[in-house]
């Protein structure tokens, strides 16, 4: 019984560690402990309020001023700083236009005015943008979608929006809806090639193929998409044309020998026939006309027109109530509706 309890305790401890519920390794810097001891921020962050001031972290010298007997020879921040905080600082140093010295006077030396919550840990040393906007009017920059007043080289950062347009959930599906009204915001962080990597007609290979060693990178057509592409295409008729031209299907199928062979039909039995039961092609064509167009558009349309022209055995392909703004003499109307004859 005691052994079982011990095993359970060990397992729970291990799970807590793996899930990040209990921290092992580097710990957040104990800002709270230092603040309650009455130590001014600038005592460790020496020179942060002097211009020009780059974003920095205190070095070991600042620590050993008080902690005269370090318990080992390693860098203090190697253990006493959350790894995320160090990465965040490095990113901010390269990509944020900011000078603490400029902010020292307006904040009257009260660092906590911006660094709200720093006493709770250093997971987020960097104040959120909303903190900046408490004092800085950004309406003009926002209206012109100009981020470069504060951000430098946003395209190179790994920052994601924290609140609105947050790229979480199923962003791959969601991004089209969100980007419709915010396309100019997207350009703040993404270069032209970011869109073209997937939506470009001349993309040679998708990001998932080009960066095959990153299984967590967002990309369409991940993993074994080739195997399941026909199932996915039939579940989302027309979706493929978001990026691909309809003839892309035929081009690939022909190169792989799946289609383009005039001697055999890729369609199942019962596709076309004299009886209604033998005419599955009509139902399938209405479901996904893009799939038909991928092979039969252009010159291939003559195959359809043979039966479906006015007076032909195939009857009208239009659904009840169908209308078009196109004149009868225009394409594709004139293929079936011979000019001069009744419609």
């Amino acid at each position: 019984m005691r052994r079982r309890a011990l095993v359970i305790c060990l397992a729970l401890t291990a799970c807590a560690g793996v899930l990040g519920l209990s921290r092992s390794g580097p710990q957040p810097f104990p800002h709270r402990k230092h603040a309650t001891a009455g130590i001014a921020c600038t005592r460790c962050h020496v020179g942060i309020d002097a211009s020009p001031s780059t974003l920095h972290l205190p070095d070991d010298t600042a620590c050993t001023t008080c902690h005269t007997k370090p318990h080992n020879q390693g860098a203090c921040l190697g253990c006493h700083a959350a790894p995320g905080a160090l990465a965040e600082l490095a990113e901010a140093r390269d990509h944020l236009v900011f000078d603490h010295a400029v902010h020292a006077a307006p904040s009257r030396g009260d660092c906590m005015r911006c660094h709200v919550g720093i006493a709770d840990g250093d997971d987020h040393l960097r104040p959120p943008m909303a903190t900046c906007f408490r004092c800085h009017d950004h309406d003009a920059a926002r209206d012109a979608r100009r981020c470069d007043a504060c951000h430098r080289g946003l395209e190179d950062t790994r920052l994601l929006p924290q609140s609105h347009l947050a790229h979480d959930g199923d962003w791959m599906r969601e991004h089209g809806t969100r980007a419709a009204a915010s396309g100019d915001s997207c350009q703040s962080c993404h270069r032209e090639s970011f869109c073209a990597d997937c939506h470009g007609k001349t993309a040679p290979a998708l990001p998932a193929t080009r960066r095959f060693a990153d299984p967590f990178g967002a990309s369409v057509h991940r993993a074994g998409f080739t195997a399941r592409h026909s199932l996915e295409a039939r579940a989302e008729p027309g979706a493929c044309t978001t990026c691909h031209s309809p003839d892309r299907c035929a081009a690939c199928h022909t190169s792989r020998g799946v289609a383009g062979d005039q001697r055999r039909s890729p369609h199942p039995p019962g596709w076309v026939g004299p009886a209604a039961a033998d005419n599955e092609h009509g139902r399938q064509a209405r479901r996904d006309p893009v799939a038909c167009a991928s092979c039969h558009d252009g010159a291939g349309q003559s195959l359809c027109v043979g039966c479906h022209k006015v007076g032909g055995v195939g009857g009208t392909p239009h659904p009840p109530g169908w209308s078009s703004r196109l004149p009868m003499g225009a394409l594709p109307c004139r293929l079936c509706h011979t000019p001069g004859r009744s419609p």
Binding site: L19, G20, V97, V102, A105, D139, A140, R142, D143, R146, D148, S163, A166, D170, R173, G176, T177, R178, A180, A181, S182, R191, E192, C195, A196, H199, G200, K201, T202, A203, P204, F212, A213, P215, F216, G224, T226, R228, L231, E232, R234, E236, P237, G238, A239, T242, A285, R286, D288, P289, V290, C292, H296, G298, C304, P317, R325, A330, L331, P332
Partner: protein, 386 residues
């Protein structure tokens, strides 16, 4: 103090404008197509308010050398950012309308009252030396009105013509808004004016509450309206494909995210449930090592399938990492194409910030290939901060 602020702002702006030229070269080699691929990317700022970008590639496929330009664009904007323009080859995305890859020009002007006007004109990008195309030129525009920090609404219009004949004419309406700190709404509608009817509608509403984010989504797409109006297949009428569902993303522990997506699809008379459950566990605070697992039930009608996917990335010393990705797909009806379609990839990667290299083995069994094993290799080099 104001003078100090102004000097600091100018100094900062000049630093921002002085971005160096950034280059990247990627070489990919696989035993599957494309057998070899070299991609070169460059971007930089030749002067204040100017930015240029180019991505070109060359590759060999079945002993045939090919090459093309993915992007080559010059962007310019005024000092206050209120007017901007692009010229070259780029993807134009105009509000609710489908993005198109064009060789052309586009411009945007921000006007008072939070109005924005944008327009583009271009000819279609055709891969390689192919001449097949659905249209020969396109033009369009969008007018949008900002809603302060809350979002914006916009109306877009585009038409495409082929030798003077109208092949596509669409009207789009888009809206995006943030309600408070935790709610986002987005919606778009594209209406086909050539063959009157709704081409596509999507809407999404999300809510954040602490570690939980939830989203409701719907979409409606009529494939016949996505074809050029000159296509015979555009006359078959509207049989829309619809999809609706809800997604919940929950950070249930500092390193563990759970995602559940429950929805339904309808295509013609077929209605089918859709289910995705995904878990992602970061093995360290930065997520350099991580595991993910996913179960999926998808498809519609006789094309339903069940899938499982797992992936792992384990960071090793010396900037090395081992990654693997496995997938199993089980179609409800195999149609003689195999009852299970497995796919797997194992890779060893190295990234020192400037150089990247990776090798991988990919193995699969699919309807296309009963058994297949490929080897992939990649080498990349970055210059500048790209």
């Amino acid at each position: 103090m104001r003078r100090l602020l102004a000097v600091a702002a100018v100094a900062a702006a000049s630093r921002a404008d002085a971005d160096p030229l950034r280059l990247r070269a990627d070489a990919l080699s696989t035993t599957a197509a494309p057998a070899g691929l070299l991609t070169l990317e460059a971007d930089g700022s030749p002067g204040p308010g100017l930015a240029a970008e180019a991505v070109v590639w060359t590759g060999s496929l079945a002993d045939q050398a090919r090459g093309d330009v993915l992007v080559i664009a010059l962007r310019a904007h005024t000092a206050d950012g209120r007017a901007s323009g692009r010229i070259g080859r780029f993807v134009e995305s105009l509000g609710a309308l489908r993005p198109i890859h064009v060789d052309g020009a586009a411009g945007r002007v921000y006007l008072p009252l939070q109005l924005a006007v944008e327009a583009y004109a271009g000819v279609p990008v055709v891969p390689g030396l192919a001449t097949a195309r659905a249209w020969s030129w396109a033009t369009g525009g969008r007018i949008a009105r900002g809603l302060g920090d809350a979002g914006s609404i916009g109306v877009a219009y585009t038409q495409q013509r082929d030798d003077g004949r109208l092949t596509s004419e669409e009207l789009g309406i888009d809206a995006g808004t943030a309600l408070g700190k935790s709610d986002d709404l987005g919606a778009k509608l594209a209406y086909d004016l050539a063959n009157p009817g709704i081409a596509e509608v999507t809407a999404s509403a999300s809510h954040r509450s602490g570690a939980l984010r939830s989203e409701l989504y719907v979409s409606h797409r009529a494939a016949s309206h996505l074809l050029p109006a000159t296509s015979l297949f555009s006359v078959l009428g509207d049989v829309p494909a619809e999809r609706a569902g809800a997604v919940a993303t929950w950070r249930c522990a500092p390193r563990l995210d759970l995602v559940a997506d429950l929805g339904a699809r309808r295509v013609d008379r077929d209605v089918a449930p859709e289910l995705v459950v995904r878990a992602r566990l970061r093995l360290d605070d930065l997520g350099t090592s991580a595991l993910t697992g996913e179960l999926r039930r998808d498809g519609v009608g006789s094309d339903m399938w069940t899938g499982a996917r797992g992936a792992a990335r384990i960071a090793l010393p010396h900037a090395l990492a081992v990654t693997t990705e496995l997938e199993l797909v089980i179609p409800d009806h195999d149609r003689g194409l195999g009852a299970v379609w497995p796919w797997g990839l194992a890779a060893l990667a190295w990234d020192d910030g400037t150089w990247q290299a990776a090798v991988a083995v990919e193995a699969s069994a699919s309807p296309q290939d009963r058994r297949r094993v490929d080897v992939l290799g990649q080498l990349s080099r970055r210059w500048g901060s790209r």
